[in-house]
């Protein structure tokens, strides 16, 4: 194979690495036993490797081209950037996907692109890759396509027929941020395209004979730390997006210094811990019944505590709700106890029907019993009622460690 293609692969993988989304789950189960094609989906998605940043490599994540007519300050591919440009042909992407897939390197393809010529032309090219994979090669692996917000409804409909998931990035959490850093993008266009996807996804749900449309739903990404939005603003935007468009996931991508970055942006090291806390907070909203506002309530600057996880931070601010009796409290309350995950709570409720749970039972059910201790009551344990929140925080926060890249 020509080495020119290999350097294209390097450029266009490098250009795609700032998109945090990686999931390959939620597709309907299928396999290739009764066909000529290749591939399967298991419903769960498989991470085939991990990069040294701990992110999962599940899909061949590349751009069709990194040329772009837009000039978004946070993006390495903006038209005023001096990066090397490259463009794959449709056939090249198809070949790479199949060859990687056959060797079990990947679950499928995540294809995005800079905007070339116009939105429709770009979308057409993305759709063509997916169409060739599905129709010409019988590919049954996972396909995630980026939907271009300004593209025609007809092209979006075609994309949804071939792809397992479509996504549109909201990019920045606030309208003002977007206006400042992505002057050619509009919140309203992005949102109405998401709304259109939701309507199409809902329309085929439960209709067995309907043509398929993005069965694994839609997701989005937000860049964190490029504009001035605080965590309260970010979580409130997320709550609105989840409620409005039935998103499967929101990816938070800590703004990362990029080569040849724009003067408009802060050149700070990425707040990776902040990104991590946002994911934890997002989790609390989706699986633990927390409202966005209560997660950051009581914080002066609207930011999550970087030192401790948001659930523990919430519990320390709401000491009056604790301690809870492990053998009696209802599920909603147990879910709010630091150190008890949703699965632990289910096990716990199952087990206490038959046994009175004691402290060593709890220790076997959760790996985080140390964090839970001050908030729970068992027949053999009652926390000291008056221990001070600040002291408690100091005791429960992970020991500060020397930050090292090579730990």
């Amino acid at each position: 194979m020509p080495s020119a293609l290999q350097s294209k692969l390097e450029i266009l993988a490098d250009a795609a690495k700032y998109d945090a989304s990686c999931a390959s789950s939620g597709a309907p189960k299928r396999d290739s036993r009764n066909g000529k094609g290749i591939g399967s989906t298991t419903g769960a998605g498989i991470c085939h490797s991990y990069t040294p940043d701990g992110r999962c490599v599940s899909l061949l994540k590349i751009l069709l081209t990194n040329s772009c007519i837009f000039d978004c300050a946070y993006c390495i591919n903006r038209r005023s950037s001096n990066v090397r440009r490259a463009r794959f042909t449709v056939e090249e992407v198809v070949m790479l996907t199949l060859e990687f897939y056959k060797r079990n390197y990947i679950e499928g393809l995540f294809l995005s692109s800079g905007i070339i010529r116009d939105a429709d032309y770009t979308m057409e090219q993305l759709v063509e890759v997916a169409r060739q994979l599905r129709d010409v090669h019988g590919f049954r692996g996972y396909i995630h396509l980026k939907a271009i917000p300004e593209a025609s409804q007809d092209l979006i409909a075609q994309a949804g027929r071939h792809a397992d998931r479509l996504s549109i990035n909201v990019e920045l959490p606030t309208e003002t941020g977007l206006k400042r850093y992505a002057p050619e993008k509009r919140t309203s266009t992005i949102r109405s395209t998401m709304a259109g996807l939701k309507l199409k996804i809902d329309a085929v749900k439960g209709e067995r004979k309907a043509p398929r449309f993005s069965p694994s739903g839609q997701s989005t990404q937000m860049i964190v730390g490029a504009d001035g939005a605080n965590d309260a603003a970010i979580l409130s935007t997320s709550a609105t997006l989840y409620a409005s468009y039935g998103l499967r996931r929101i990816y938070y991508s800590a703004f990362s210094p990029i080569p040849d970055s724009s003067k408009a942006l802060p050149l700070a090291a990425p707040p990776l811990q902040r990104e991590h806390r946002l994911y934890q907070a997002d989790w609390l909203m989706r699986y633990y019944g927390f409202e966005a506002s209560e997660i950051v309530q009581g914080s002066a600057d609207g930011m999550l505590d970087l030192g401790i996880d948001p659930k523990l931070a919430w519990a320390l601010r709401n000491r009056n709700r604790f301690p809870v009796d492990i053998n009696r409290a209802d599920r909603e309350l147990l879910l709010r106890v630091p150190g008890l995950g949703a699965r632990t709570v289910d096990w716990l409720i199952d087990a206490r029907r038959h046994r009175t749970l004691r402290m060593d039972d709890i220790a076997r059910l959760t790996g985080a019993v140390r964090r839970a201790r001050p908030f729970i009551i068992t027949p053999d344990h009652r926390p000291v009622a008056d221990s001070d929140s600040a002291l408690l925080r100091a005791r429960l926060a992970p020991k500060p460690v020397q930050m090292s890249l090579f730990g």
Partner: protein
């Protein structure tokens, strides 16, 4: 001292064989501590024959069978004895034992089950095929070193995924081969029998190198998800030390490098029309309204839902605000309330396509709750700000009659609080030759809990709409 029994498992991962043994043990009432479990490898003395006993009928919770099936693939020689102890306790102590995750034995076996599941998952993830060519064409061969004895349960995954390829998986515990029709299991082989390279591996390494962002190095996280014991057979793992070693320097260089002069590329023509002067048509007004930020409601709503209908409509229906469906689709009155409205209009004989339908407030106001949006009533300030658009719609259409659907619309049209309960069905002269008829909002009908009240109120609503048709004969539906 009571007799010690030796049981030999010939096929150590076989549930069927294990089941035979435990059935006999239970029948002979042999307590777990009286059994020594062995596999053929350490079978120096052979099995101790069990006393003959009629095997009683007994049932075992389905969850136990599942647990045993999976735990048997664990490499720990203790597993047989632990599983038998659990069975003994299930039958003699507590049938609900499996629900008690905090029981030490249940906990230990669940951990083993989890370890097997995880290893199986990692095998589907970290196994790498290498391609060779033989007389029949392409063949794919992988060398993999699983932590547990999972070759057989792993087969299904690879058969389903690579059904139309010929492939082999070689492991230190055994091998399996797929010819496109059946899987054949064979003896253990050595790594030397697997191909040493593949032409795509250099490509895969290129991809892996390029997809790593040095500013985010986090090797601890990586090792949690991709344990080091799997690295030696992953072609990309050889890059990890080098990538990590360079990460800090690469990041530093990026941050320190002065921004280069931006490439001069002509900006594309912007497709977005800016808000201009006074709109002369409904279409122009609608475009202007799309960018409306007169009140904060635009922040969370999807889009401005503008009015719809002919520019010369003799009647304008005004609702409160768009709802969830309207917000998503960008059209007024299409959700549940809109459908009820359509039904009532049809019964009253009014042609909706001849009418203009709009809302007092053009953005959806809501509070997010999980995966739903809860409708919030717009406040007076929001209604006042949005009147700017409503007034311009009315100025361009110049209808004869306005229909206020509910209190918010009445407020927007009259500038006053109007009690719909008192004014319902009445028409009031407004200004510029326009009159306004007051009625309820169709969503009010949907909210009535009592079916009889709902039917009665619906009749009154149809009556109100009939008044519209009588006042404006041009609206009558051609039927």
């Amino acid at each position: 001292m009571s007799t010690q029994y030796r049981i030999v498992m010939h096929e150590e991962t076989s549930l069927e064989e294990f089941r035979e043994h435990v059935r006999a043990l239970i029948a002979a009432r042999v307590a777990p501590r009286a059994v020594t479990w062995m596999t053929t490898g350490d079978d120096l003395f052979g099995a101790t024959p069990l006393p003959d006993a009629k095997i009683p009928k007994f049932t075992v919770p389905g969850a136990y069978v599942e647990l045993a099936r999976e735990v048997l693939h664990h490499r720990d020689p203790q597993r047989f004895s632990l599983l038998y102890t659990l069975l003994w306790r299930l039958l003699h102590e507590d049938r609900m034992l499996l629900s008690i995750f905090s029981d030490p034995l249940v906990y230990k076996l669940r951990q083993m089950q989890k370890a097997v599941g995880r290893d199986l998952h990692k095998m589907t993830a970290f196994l790498r095929f290498r391609k060779i060519e033989d007389d029949d064409g392409e063949r794919f061969i992988a060398w993999f070193e699983p932590q547990h004895l999972i070759l057989k349960p792993a087969a299904e995954f690879f058969v389903k995924r690579f059904a139309n390829m010929r492939w082999s998986v070689l492991t230190p515990d055994g091998s399996m081969h797929w010819n496109g029709r059946v899987v054949a299991f064979g003896p253990a082989v050595t790594k030397a029998q697997a191909p040493a390279e593949d032409s795509m591996e250099e490509w895969w390494r290129s991809y892996y190198r390029a997809t790593f962002n040095p500013a985010r190095a986090n090797p601890k996280m990586m090792k949690t998800e991709m344990p080091v014991r799997y690295w030696k057979n992953l072609p990309e793992a050889s890059l990890i030390p080098e990538l990590l070693a360079q990460a800090e320097q690469r990041t530093g260089t990026m941050i320190e490098a002065a921004p280069t002069a931006p490439r001069k590329v002509r900006a594309p023509v912007s497709a977005v029309a800016e808000e201009g002067g006074e709109a002369q048509s409904l279409a122009a007004l609608k475009t202007q309204a799309a960018a409306c930020q007169r009140c904060p409601l635009f922040c969370d709503a999807t889009q401005t839902v503008f009015g719809e209908g002919p520019a010369d409509a003799p009647v304008v229906f005004v609702g409160e605000q768009p709802g969830d469906q309207e917000d998503l689709a960008g059209q007024p009155f299409i959700g549940p309330a809109g459908q009820l409205f359509d039904r009532a209009m049809a019964e009253a004989g009014v042609d909706r396509s001849r009418a203009y339908v709009t809302n007092a407030v053009k953005h959806f106001k809501f509070t997010p709750r999980g995966k739903k949006r809860i409708h919030q009533k717009p406040n007076t300030g929001e209604v006042e700000r949005c009147r700017w658009w409503l007034d311009r719609e009315l100025a361009l259409i110049r209808p004869k009659l306005l229909v206020a659907l509910g209190g918010t619309a009445a407020r927007a049209l009259t500038g006053k609080d109007v009690k719909i309960t008192q004014m319902r069905g009445r028409t009031v002269h407004l200004r510029d030759g326009m009159s306004v008829l007051f009625t309820v909002h169709p969503s009010y009908l949907l909210r009535l809990p009592d079916a009889a009240a709902q039917a009665a109120e619906y009749r009154r609503f149809v009556d109100d709409l009939t008044q519209v048709r009588l006042a404006l004969p041009a609206l009558a539906r051609a039927a």
